[in-house]
C-alpha cells in the first residue's frame, strides 16, 4: 500500500494535504496525516493509514497505496500532487531497488536459498509429479491453500481490530518480529559464512546476532533514527523474501504471485474487502491504521506525543508519528502470520507539532517482499541469465511508477502489487523464453541492436 504523508514543512497549513478527499463516510484510506490541519475536514483528520496489517504471512498488509488529499482547490491539489510525485517515486525506488539487490546478490552467491529442502506447510502438495497436468494442479491447490490462509488471517485481524484486542495483536507482532530478526538472521549469517568459508566462533556470533536483533527491535517497535529503521525494514523484507524463494515450490510460487495480486486488488478496492473494512474502521475511530509493516520515507519525527483516548473523535490532530509508522515488522511466523497491528496513534489536541514534517510516502512491506520474491525467482531460475532479472526489475519499477501515478490521480489507498506483479510476470516469462535466445544469439555474434 502506498500512502502519502502530509507534511507541514514549507507550506501553510492550508496547503497541506489533509484528510480524505471526499466527504463521503467510508472513504478509503486517507493516507495523509495533517498535523496542523484544523478540523475542517472533520471526519477525517487524516488518520494515518497504512495498509493493513492483516496480511499475514506472505505479505504484509501493506499493499495499499494511499494518498491523502490536500484541502485545497482541485487545481492546486493536482499541482501539489505532481509536485511531490516525482520525488516520492524516487523515494520508493531506492528502497525497493536496495531490497531487490540484496535478494539477488544473496541468491546468486549463497546456494542455500536455491536448494529445495522441503516446503512450508502452507503448500503441502509436492511438485515432483510425473505429469505436467498434475504439477499444475498441485500448484493451483497450493495457491488456493495459501490464499485462503491469508484471507482467514486477514479476517481474523479485522475481527480483532473491531473488538479492540490491541494487546493481542501487539504481542503477536512482537513475537513474529523477534523470530524474524533473530532466527532468520542467524540462519542467513550462517549460510553466508558457509558460502565464503569464513569461520566465526560462537561468542562473536552471539554478540553479532544479539546486537543486530536488539537494535532492530528497538528501531522497529520503538524509536530510532529513520535511516536505521528503513534499513531494518529492508533487511527483514529481504529475509522474508529469501524464505519464500527457498520454500515455495517452483510453479506454486508463480501462481501464488499472480493470485496475491488479484487478492490484493480485491481486498483493497472492493467495498466488502477485509482490508478496506479495516481501513474504514480505523477511520471511524480516527485512529491510524497499523503503522506496522509499513516502510515510510518520512523525514521527521514528532517532537513529542500526548497520549489521548483512542476513541476520542472529533478534532483530533493526528500528528504524523513516524515511530508508530515505522513500527512495522514482519510477522511472519511459520505457523501463522500475525497481523501487524498498531496502537491507535496518540493524537495531539490541536497543539502545534514539530514542524518539519515532510511529505513522504509509505509502502507496505508485503509489497517489498513480493517484488523481491519475483526478482529473486527470476535470478534463481533464469538459467544464469541476468537479462531476465533486469527485465523484471525494470518492469516492477515501472509498475510502481504507474501505481504512484494512479495514487496521485485517485488519491485513495491503492494496492501496490497488481500492476507491478503483472508487468513482472509478463516480462519474466517473455524474456526467459523469447528474449534470451535472441540476445544470446546476438551476443555470440557481436551484433548490437
Amino acid at each position: 500500500m502506498l500512502t502519502f504523508m502530509a507534511s507541514d514543512s514549507e507550506e501553510e497549513a492550508c496547503n497541506e494535504r489533509t484528510s480524505l478527499m471526499s466527504a463521503e463516510s467510508p472513504t478509503p484510506r486517507s493516507c495523509q496525516q495533517e498535523a496542523r490541519q484544523g478540523p475542517e475536514d472533520g471526519e477525517n483528520a487524516a488518520p494515518w493509514r497504512n495498509q493493513d496489517g492483516e496480511e499475514d504471512h506472505e505479505e504484509d498488509p501493506d499493499r495499499y497505496v494511499c494518498s491523502g488529499v490536500p484541502g485545497r482547490l482541485p487545481g492546486l491539489e493536482e499541482e501539489l500532487t505532481l509536485k511531490y510525485g516525482a520525488k516520492h517515486v524516487i523515494m520508493l525506488f531506492v528502497p525497493v531497488t536496495l531490497c531487490m539487490i540484496v535478494v539477488v546478490a544473496t541468491i546468486k552467491s549463497v546456494r542455500f536459498y536455491t536448494e529445495k529442502n522441503g516446503q512450508l506447510i502452507y503448500t503441502p502438495f509436492t511438485e515432483n509429479t510425473p505429469s505436467v497436468g498434475q504439477r499444475l494442479l498441485n500448484s493451483v491447490l497450493n495457491t488456493l491453500i495459501m490464499i485462503s490462509v491469508i484471507v482467514v488471517m486477514t479476517i481474523f485481524l479485522v475481527v480483532l481490530y473491531k473488538y479492540r484486542c490491541y494487546k493481542f495483536i501487539h504481542g503477536w507482532l512482537i513475537v513474529s518480529s523477534l523470530m524474524l530478526l533473530f532466527l532468520f538472521t542467524y540462519i542467513y549469517l550462517g549460510e553466508v559464512l558457509k558460502t565464503y568459508n569464513v569461520a566465526m566462533d560462537h561468542p562473536t556470533l552471539l554478540l553479532t546476532v544479539w546486537n543486530f536483533g536488539a537494535v532492530g527491535m528497538v528501531c522497529i517497535h520503538w524509536k530510532g533514527p529513520l535511516v536505521l529503521q528503513q534499513a531494518y525494514l529492508i533487511a527483514i523484507s529481504a529475509l522474508m523474501a529469501l524464505v519464500f524463494i527457498k520454500y515455495l515450490p517452483e510453479w506454486s510460487a508463480w501462481v501464488i504471485l499472480g493470485a496475491i495480486s488479484v487478492y490484493d486488488l480485491v481486498a483493497v478496492l472492493c467495498p466488502k474487502g477485509p482490508l478496506r473494512m479495516l481501513v474504514e474502521t480505523a477511520q471511524e475511530r480516527n485512529e491510524p491504521i497499523f503503522p506496522a509493516l509499513i516502510y515510510s520515507s518520512a523525514m521527521v519525527w514528532p517532537v513529542g506525543m500526548a497520549k489521548l483516548d483512542p476513541s476520542s473523535q472529533g478534532a483530533l490532530q493526528l500528528p504524523y508519528d513516524p515511530e508508530m509508522e515505522e513500527d512495522s515488522y514482519d510477522n511472519f511466523g511459520e505457523p501463522s502470520y500475525p497481523e501487524v497491528f498498531e496502537h491507535p496513534l496518540p493524537g495531539y489536541p490541536g497543539e502545534e507539532l514539530e514542524e518539519e514534517e515532510e511529505r513522504g510516502v509509505k509502502l507496505g512491506l508485503g509489497d517489498f517482499i513480493f517484488y523481491s520474491v519475483l526478482v529473486g525467482k527470476a535470478a534463481a531460475t533464469g538459467s544464469g541469465d541476468w537479462n531476465t532479472t533486469l527485465a523484471c526489475f525494470v518492469a516492477i519499477l515501472i509498475g510502481l511508477c504507474l501505481t504512484l501515478l494512479l495514487l496521485a490521480v485517485f488519491k485513495k489507498a491503492l494496492p501496490a502489487l497488481p500492476i507491478s506483479i503483472t508487468f513482472g510476470l509478463i516480462f519474466y516469462f517473455s524474456t526467459d523464453n523469447l528474449v534470451r535466445p535472441f540476445m544470446d544469439a546476438l551476443a555470440s555474434r557481436q551484433l548490437y541492436i
Partner: protein
Amino acid sequence: MTAAVFFGCAFIAFGPALALYVVTIATEPLRIIFLIVGAFFWLVSLLLSSLVWFMARTITDNKDESLQKYLLIFGVLISVLIQEMFRFAYYKILKKANEGLKIVNPDEPPPSMRLLAYVSGLGFGIMSGVFSFVNTLSDSLGPGTVGIHGDSPQFFLNSAFMTLVIILLHMFWGIVFFDGCEKKNWYTLLVVLLTHLLVSALVPRGDQGLWNLKNNNNPENPQLVMASFLSILMKYTFVLPKTPDACGTKPVLTTEDALVSPTTRLSRPNWTISEVVTFTAGSDILRATRPQTAEQLAPGLEEGLRAWSEGAGRRLQTQGLQGRDFPQEPSLGSCLEGDSGFLVH
C-alpha cells in the same frame, strides 16, 4: 579473465553512461523516472522484436546454419525498425506528458524537449548496452581462456567497446530523432534509422559458423570499432549545430532598472508582482511580450524595460501580443523557457 577483465570491460562499457547518469540525471527525480520509462520502452521494443524473430525461427524450422544467420540479420533489422518506432512513440508520450506538466506545474519550467531527448536516448542506450553485455560480463568473471578455438582473444574488449559505442549512439540518436520530430523534419528520422541499421548490421567478418570470431579477424575488429566511432562523430556533428543560441539569462527587472540576479525573485514587501513578462533573447534584440493580454505594456514597465535593455546593450522591442501569439512550442533552437522573468512594480 576474472576480476581484471571484468572490471576493465565493465568500466569501459558503462563508465561514460554511469558518469552521465550521476552528473546529469541522478539529481532530478523526474529525469530518473523518464530514464527508466525510456529503458522500459526499449525493453518492450526488444520483446516485440524477439517475438517476431522467434516466430520466424519456429516457422522456418530449419537447422541450416546460414539460414539461422540470415534469420538473425532479419531479426536485427526488424528490431531496429521496432526500436525506432518505439522511440517515436516515446516522443509522442513525452509531448503529452509535457503538456500535462506545464498545466499542473506552472511555476516550475517543465523539462525542455532537448533534455527529454537526451534522457530518453540515454535510457534506450543504457538498457540496450546492459542487455547486450551483462551476460558476457558475468561470464568474464569466471575462469576460462578466450580464443582457444581460434577466436579473437580480444572478444571481451571488443564487446565492451561496442557496448560503449552503442550506448552513446543511442543517446545521440535520441537527441537527433527528437529534434527531427520537433522540427517536423522527416529526413532526420530517416537518417537516424539508416545509421542505426548501418551500425547494427555491421557484422564482423569471418562469419563462419556460430562464432564469427574465427580465423583471427583482428584486422576486421578495429575496422568495426572505427566504423562505430565514425558514427559517433557523425552524430556529434549533427548535434552540434542544434545547440541553441545563447539565451539570455532570466532578466528580472524593476522599474528602477535594477538588474537583479536572474534567478532570484524579488520579494520586496510593498511591491507586488504585476505582470509576468517573458523575454526572448535573440542575438541583440530583447523582446518583451505580455502573454495574456493584447494591451500595450504599462508605461512604467516599458520605461523600465527600455532603460534596462539599453543598459544591457540590447535593443528593446516591445509588442503587446494576443495570448496565442506567444510562441507555444519552444523549439529546440530557442531557449524560450529559460527566459521568463518577473516584473515588479
